[in-house]
Symmetry: C2
Subunit: 455 residues, 2 copies
């Protein structure tokens, strides 16, 4: 029996095998594979396939698994699959989703389908869904489950144990029960750890074991802050309260792990101007359109840099070495600036930057920029001298580099702070703004100094 202990299967081997089966049309083999594959992994397989094979594989997914697989899919990949389902299938799948998952699912559906779905849900399901939809996306309220076990404080542990034994199952990840007041208003009083339930004398009262000062969150707290709290306090679950202190539900760590992973995914994708739900196998035209937007923004900034270069046509036409060397100054500034920018964005995400320590950070980054500016300016100046044999150009490229690295340090701190203050995500547009500045200052300082001193 122990031999069935699962070690992690290789997902890429599984993927290769599924593709081979799809290509040779081995339906039974596929069905067999999917039966023993976790819905999360089925979702990942679907996302790894181009549109046609994706729908072929979806056909093989057992109906009973459909709703779970759908809730593991990213929005964009899910849309491609939902588009091919008929309404009966959709209603069936939606009917067996937890309200939190359903809320997210419904947000992404076309409106006529949404209405259809809402009408098809039974009253209880619909009420629970409405409850979740009341809270804004990205808030604690949206993450919470209302499936909570709560107890009174004036009963004994033995009573609680007896009562639990009457349950068929407990809500997933129940590491603690919630203690609420007996007046029936559901005011939250504290939590009762399952561990304490197990080790306590059955005759003592809940009140004596419960933790009245347990951490809780309000329903409108952002999921980012909830995740921070879980991380800092090593929580498994946390109670969600309304403003009056009434217990609304609980958030569990598995949803928080998803929040953390999604945040990091978003940062990565956004920094390249990609949609956060980007589907590896999205159709070509929508993909091209979404990415083209980012290219268009970049085009504006790079034309701005080109315009700056254009101001120095006289210098460029007289000294062709300037054209050869100018990308060096701009590029080194961009690299140094992105280091400062990354550090600042991370400091902001960790809440480690407050008004009182910005000054020191700026001084430190200016010094780092100055030191590296000086060192690499010397190297670049020497190479330039040996390449072109012109001491004037060598001195000027060195000076321009020092200037640009200092500007890069300042920009690397100022840009994310400003974007953050204006409520914009520094990870999204920080890098574009930064390289615009380092390009322009790079070209301006190098070509400008050359015009002043060499012409």
């Amino acid at each position: 029996m122990t031999s069935e202990n699962e070690t992690t299967p290789s997902q890429t081997q599984l993927l290769d095998q599924v593709i081979a089966d799809l290509e040779t049309g081995r339906q039974e083999a596929l069905a067999q594979t999917l039966l023993t594959t976790h819905p999360a992994d089925v979702a990942s397989l679907l996302e790894s396939l181009p549109p046609e094979q994706r729908s072929e594989l979806w056909e093989v997914v057992p109906v009973a698994q459909e709703s779970e697989v759908l809730s593991f899919l990213h929005d964009e990949a899910r849309t491609t699959i939902v588009d091919e389902m008929d309404q009966g299938e959709l209603v069936a799948a939606a009917g067996s989703m937890a309200p939190e998952d359903l809320a997210e699912f419904i947000d992404e559906l076309p409106e006529d389908l949404t209405n259809h779905l809402l009408l098809a849900l039974d009253a209880d399901h619909r009420k629970r869904l409405d409850n979740v939809l009341n809270y804004e996306e990205g808030s604690a309220g949206r993450l919470m489950s209302t499936d909570v076990i709560s107890v009174r404080k004036d009963v004994t542990i033995a009573v609680v144990l007896r009562w639990l034994r009457r349950h068929e199952t407990l809500p997933p990840h129940t590491d603690s029960l919630m203690v609420i007041d007996d007046a029936g208003e559901g005011l939250y009083l504290g939590k009762l750890d399952v561990a304490d339930l197990l080790i306590s004398n059955p005759d003592i009262m809940v009140e004596q074991v419960m933790q009245p000062e347990a951490v809780t969150v309000r329903a409108d707290l952002s999921e980012h802050e909830v995740a921070n709290l879980f991380e800092r306090r090593d929580l498994i679950s946390v109670a969600v309260l309304d403003d009056a202190g009434k217990l609304l539900g609980r958030i569990t760590i598995d949803d928080i792990v998803d929040v953390i992973r999604e945040e990091s995914d978003r940062t990565l994708l956004r920094s390249a101007g990609l949609n956060e739900e980007e589907d590896m196998y999205a159709p070509v035209l929508p993909s091209a359109r979404r990415r083209g937007l980012w290219l268009g923004i970049n085009l504006i900034t790079v034309f701005a840099a080109a315009w700056v270069i254009g101001r120095f046509e006289a210098a460029l036409s007289q000294i062709v070495a300037l054209a050869v060397l100018m990308p060096i100054v701009a590029s080194m500034g961009g690299i140094a600036g992105s280091q400062t920018l990354t550090l600042t964005i991370r400091g902001l995400a960790l809440n480690q930057i407050a008004s009182a320590n910005v000054r020191w950070l700026t001084i430190k980054e200016l010094l780092v920029g100055g030191v590296n500016g000086a060192v690499w300016a010397l190297v670049v100046a020497l190479i330039t001298y040996f390449w072109f044999g012109e001491p004037g150009i060598a001195i000027i490229i060195g000076a321009a580099m020092v200037l640009n690295l200092l500007a890069a340090a300042l920009a690397g701190i100022a840009i994310p702070l400003l974007l953050n203050r204006w409520g914009m995500d520094p990870a999204l547009s920080g890098a574009v703004v930064l390289t615009t500045i380092t390009d322009i200052i790079g070209f301006l300082s190098f070509l400008g100094l050359a015009t002043l001193f060499l012409l």
Copy 2:
């Protein structure tokens, strides 16, 4: 009592206040603040301070909290603090760390201190530490705790409950007990969920409730794969086994949350060529040296691009518009390429790229590159025509852009796949290699076509 429910405190407000207290020397106020601050938050405060204030605040940290605060600090920040502690303090702090934390802590200490510490530990502590140090950093064995509750399968639930009640506490995050064989070799048989323990009839046997097919991991599995497994299976804890199936310990979700956060942190920092433990307030010279390395690598690549430009001095000296426009072709290729690169790196991290679907991905990305190349080439060509009035240059810049965006798509897929195959982290060096290629192909195609057709 309910009014003490904690909502998240604002970390940046706390930081501002601590800095103000440090500047005015209010020691008692600081001590008071630290008493009510979680060790994880104290660690974050320390990391937010420049060296001098950091040691001032460290002086105020209560001795009893020191070991916990140290285990929450990032390596580099920790080193700055350890440097100022005397050996007695260090030994005291180390003595109260859990073996997993101590192992990580010791890895970073200078060797003479390590030996000193090891000698000062008591025999039991040292044995547990050796146990952890047996496993490689980054493996499941390093993450696991040996603090596990195991039971036999041939006893009743009532016996287990009685036995648990004799414990003072349970290991943190105990969501299940481990069932091992009675022969005393400790072979793992399955897990017994605490939830099942609570809802089952006390008279039935453990064997009837336990889950023999629960997921387990081997001690040498990488922490990345362990984290993937936790995420896909929504686990709270997992048993760690040796090759013979013997139970070694368990890994809990709180450590996995740290692994996930560190991975995302590493990707972010590395993509800018920063050290993964980079301390916001590291001293200037070491910071400059570490970052300078990255600037030096970039300098090589940008000189390679400059060398390519240098091959076309004739064209540049005759048509100055080429110098003005050439950064546009290079930059657009870099942006488009980094989109493909990011998508590929993410696909690799999610195990969604296998040999069988690379071809489709390449075709799709080439099509996206082709569409965007064509669209933006037209825009750039039109702007160029209106700016310089030269149809030849307009046509050539458009053609160069299409070529560079196609090359960018290919490079964006090939670079991370090759780096990955060679065992290198694509997030670390992928972007530098990519922009080198898009710069060179951008300059080469634009200036090359101009030389062929316009001179």
